[in-house]
């Protein structure tokens, strides 16, 4: 289950960044980017179905495990190809590769639980439902928002 983001809800508070760093001994895998003066967007691993990073990784350190793009630190050579391959810039290398592990072992990813605005979720249906509801409201109100 990857993490889904509702950009309309993100308030740019950067809790997800601090929480991610906190549970990954200082190296975070989520970054909040500010777009002009009017929006903030957390950027993090999409766990792509056909993940470029796994294609580029010649040792198989990055590989798919079901929906998850998993990482086997034992196999990583630190070559940095994954970093070049990722179209979102969310895999990075510092001796070895670092990427989102969906907080393996925790009940939910820390970024999802900690998000004060409820902008992050692992529930695809919820993300979908919100988008539909927003579209419906917008249509009913003549595109007012």
């Amino acid at each position: 289950m990857p993490v889904y983001i509702d950009i309309n809800r993100c308030i740019g508070c950067r809790s997800c960044e601090v929480a991610c760093q906190r549970v990954h001994s200082g190296s975070g895998h989520i970054n909040v980017h500010f777009v002009g003066d009017y929006a903030s967007v957390p950027i993090f691993c999409h766990h792509c179905e056909e993940a470029n990073c796994t294609v580029a990784c010649f040792t198989g350190a990055l590989h798919k495990e079901g929906e998850r793009t998993a990482f086997d630190v034992e196999k990583c050579t630190g070559c940095g190809l994954c970093q070049l391959a990722c179209p979102f810039g969310v895999v990075w290398t510092n001796k070895i590769a670092h990427k989102c592990d969906l907080c393996e072992g925790r009940a939910a990813p820390a970024c999802v639980t900690t998000c004060p605005a409820n902008a992050l979720t692992t529930d695809f249906e919820l993300a979908n439902r919100r988008a539909r509801a927003r579209a419906a409201r917008s249509a009913a109100q003549g595109g007012r928002r």
């Binding site: 809800r9 308030i11 740019g12 508070c13 950067r14 809790s15 960044e17 601090v18 929480a19 760093q21 906190r22 549970v23 003066d37 009017y38 929006a39 903030s40 820390a110 639980t113 900690t114 998000c115 004060p116 605005a117 409820n118 919100r130 509801a133 409201r137 007012r144 928002r145």
Partner: protein, 678 residues
């Protein structure tokens, strides 16, 4: 290895989010979220996530210190307490009890605040205050006057029931981030969100209607909205007739505030004002959320009353989804006020100038005499220190040298004291000026109850021991009081809370045993009372149960842009810092995200000043000058600049002019000039 999870309440803002501290071998090793917490539902902002970073910080004070020339000498607790007791004893003997002043802390627990104000008053001094003076004193004065109770009228989760949320003078997305989850929940159910702020903030991203008003013109805007509501007949006539008094006066006083005239004053388009007024008045349940953008003005009390007027004429009070919500900035600033750490109130908002109050507490505390108030407020204490009226001061967990306006003057005022004792966890700028520094404990190192912004009293547990010789503020205050001959025999926080149960009616039923997971919301007069999440459901505590509508004319801010000082400087907060910053500036994951003082300047203004993004600039006001780097933005309008107040430089600039009633300084409006440093 065994891990224990200790439930605590976040030490930062007033939202009162809960989290667990994981403790292994007597060390705090991590944070675990608390998904069943009523306010935060497991969420924590960046500050909350970084809270443990201050626990083992190398700068923590671990021993009492005595000034020795320019440096400090470590001393024993006995010597430190003896020095404090002797200095205060002498000041009282020589100059009378009015010559001492105590500043209590809105970071301390209810129990500690209660003891600190009790200490001041038993010593005979009415001079007790806390930094609520700098954030919500106008709410305490204004709402007590109009509604009969200060504090949020409705709890935070109730915001989700609102159909129109009017946020004015609050950047809650950054300062109380967890509130945004409740606003979004209301929006999901179709609520309209109106945001009024001089800056385009993260909060304004949530808005359907955004009113970018000129700093200091809030009364004009609010009166303008009242004008539209009355003119269009959108008020709640039944509610006005049954529950209020003073409507006719208001009607008369706002008749000239036409949208066109208000547009001229505020810079907000007339049509937008009308739209905001209609949305607020016509929704079935509207709430107003406000914060320091309303209070930190020389017209702070007026602003609060104008808000209260709007809510009252529309009848948006006493029902789910309605109300007036002052968002408090510190974890226990509500509690510090409730406990009477205020110049004009004894515990439970009993008026300090009322002989009945004195009689009540004299018998409750077994005191022969108690001082009749009001005493000196936080800002007046500084002036009094400067003039020599106050000789000795005891400051607990506050950093006025950074947080008070016109900080250069505050430095010299505090320097003028015969004796200053500061009790804190770090060597703050204020502590640097002290004669004796006492090492306190942080929230995780002690237990006690804390009252969040929605009046929810929660118990926070003790996870670890304080570092070195540091002690909890409760223990230190008891030591000081005993050495001054007072009978402060409180073994723990629970024993103090038991006394609070007897003396503060609102807290009568809030006992240690009853403070479980969700806490209790005061007023809770008896042990079988469930608490009162929504205030004013059946009228107000005034005669006939009527609230007061008090007309307020628009007054200009004390300063305005001029030829020499062409910009209006307004101040505020950012998501990764807290108040004067003594904690967050020491927190690596927070300071790395916002390391330096900056000033936001409108792009067009910057071009005229020949300033590029990232340039070092000098900002000058009548009070002094500060260096900062420029951030070019269209978040602020032309002629307005913004600086966060988490860094020492900002309050060198701000004005010491205060609201005449609540005595809050006008942090939000200072005329300044800006030049590039080359």
């Amino acid at each position: 290895m065994t891990q224990v999870l200790v439930p605590t309440v976040c030490p930062y803002c007033g939202a009162g989010c809960g989290f667990f501290i994981a403790v292994e071998k007597e060390r705090a090793t991590g944070i675990e979220y608390m998904p069943d917490h009523p306010v935060s539902e497991g969420a924590l902002c960046a500050k909350g996530n970084a809270a443990l970073e201050v626990l083992y910080h190398q700068d923590r004070l671990t021993s009492p210190l005595k000034r020795k020339g320019e440096s400090w000498a470590k001393i024993s607790w006995e010597e430190a307490i003896d020095l404090v007791a002797r200095a205060f004893g002498e000041a009282i003997k020589k100059h009378g009890p009015g010559s001492i002043a105590l500043l209590s802390s809105s970071k301390c627990s209810n129990e500690e605040n209660y003891l600190i104000e009790k200490l001041a008053r038993l010593l005979g001094s009415p001079n007790i205050d806390n930094c609520a003076r700098l954030c919500h004193a106008p709410s305490v004065v204004g709402l007590n006057r109009t509604l009969g109770a200060a504090g949020m009228t409705n709890p935070i989760p109730d915001i989700a029931n609102s159909k129109c949320i009017f946020v004015i003078g609050s950047n809650l997305a950054e300062n109380h981030p967890v509130l945004s989850r409740w606003i979004h929940r209301a929006k999901d159910a179709g609520a309209v969100v109106i945001v009024a702020d001089p800056r385009m903030t993260h909060t304004s991203w949530m808005a359907d209607v955004f009113l970018q008003l000129k700093p200091g013109t809030d009364v004009a805007l609010l009166n303008g909205m009242a004008h539209v509501i009355i003119k269009e007949g959108l008020m709640d006539r039944d509610y006005i007739a049954q529950r209020t008094r003073g409507f006719e006066d208001l009607k008369e006083s706002v008749k000239d505030y036409t949208p066109e005239k208000v547009a001229e004053i505020t810079g907000v388009a007339a049509a937008t004002i009308v739209r905001a007024a209609r949305s607020y008045a016509m929704s079935p349940a509207s709430s107003i959320l406000y914060s320091m953008g309303i209070t930190q003005h020389s017209t702070g009390t007026d602003n609060v009353q104008a808000i209260s007027n709007l809510a009252l004429i529309c009848g948006h009070m006493g029902k789910p989804g309605t109300g007036v919500m002052p968002l408090r900035g510190q974890n226990n600033v509500q509690g510090a006020c409730d406990m009477g750490a205020l110049a004009e109130f004894y515990p439970g908002y009993k008026k300090a100038d009322d002989p009945e109050t004195i009689k009540y507490f004299s018998s409750a505390w077994g005191a022969a005499s108690l001082p009749l108030g009001p005493g000196l407020t936080a800002t007046e204490m500084m002036d009094a220190a400067g003039t020599g009226e106050v000789k000795a001061m005891y400051i607990v967990g506050e950093d006025p040298a950074n947080s008070d306006p016109c900080s250069k003057k505050v430095h010299s005022d505090l320097d003028n004291l015969d004796f200053l004792v500061v009790q804190d966890i770090f060597m703050t700028a204020t502590a640097q000026l002290a004669d004796v520094v006492l090492p306190g404990a942080v929230w995780a190192e002690k237990e006690g109850s804390f009252t969040n912004t929605e009046r929810r009293v929660q118990w926070s547990g003790k996870a670890i021991e304080p570092p070195g010789a540091a002690l909890s503020d409760l223990e230190i205050v008891c030591k000081v009081a005993r050495s001054l001959g007072l009978d402060f025999d409180y073994p723990d926080a629970a024993s103090v809370l038991a006394e609070i149960n007897r003396t503060v009616p609102q807290y009568g039923g809030i006992t240690r045993e009853r403070l479980g997971k969700a806490g209790l919301i005061w007023p809770c007069p008896a042990t079988d009372h469930p608490g009162t999440p929504i205030l004013h459901t059946s009228g107000f505590k005034f005669a006939e149960g009527r609230a007061s509508i008090l007309p307020v004319p628009y007054r200009l801010a004390a300063e305005d842009a001029s030829f020499d000082y062409p910009f209006v400087l307004t101040t505020g907060r950012v998501a990764v810092h807290h108040n004067a910053g003594s904690m967050t500036r020491r927190s690596p994951s927070l300071i790395s995200r916002e390391p330096d003082l900056y000033v936001e300047i409108n792009t067009a203004d910057a071009t005229r000043l020949n300033v590029a993004d990232g340039d070092e600039v000098t900002i000058t006001t009548l009070r002094g000058e500060t260096q900062a780097y420029a951030r070019l933005t269209d978040k602020v309008k032309r002629g307005v600049v913004f600086m966060p107040f988490h860094f020492p430089g900002t309050n060198i600039l701000t004005t010491e002019i205060t609201d005449p009633e609540a005595r809050i300084p006008e942090f939000k409006v200072s005329a300044c000039k800006i030049s590039r440093r080359d």
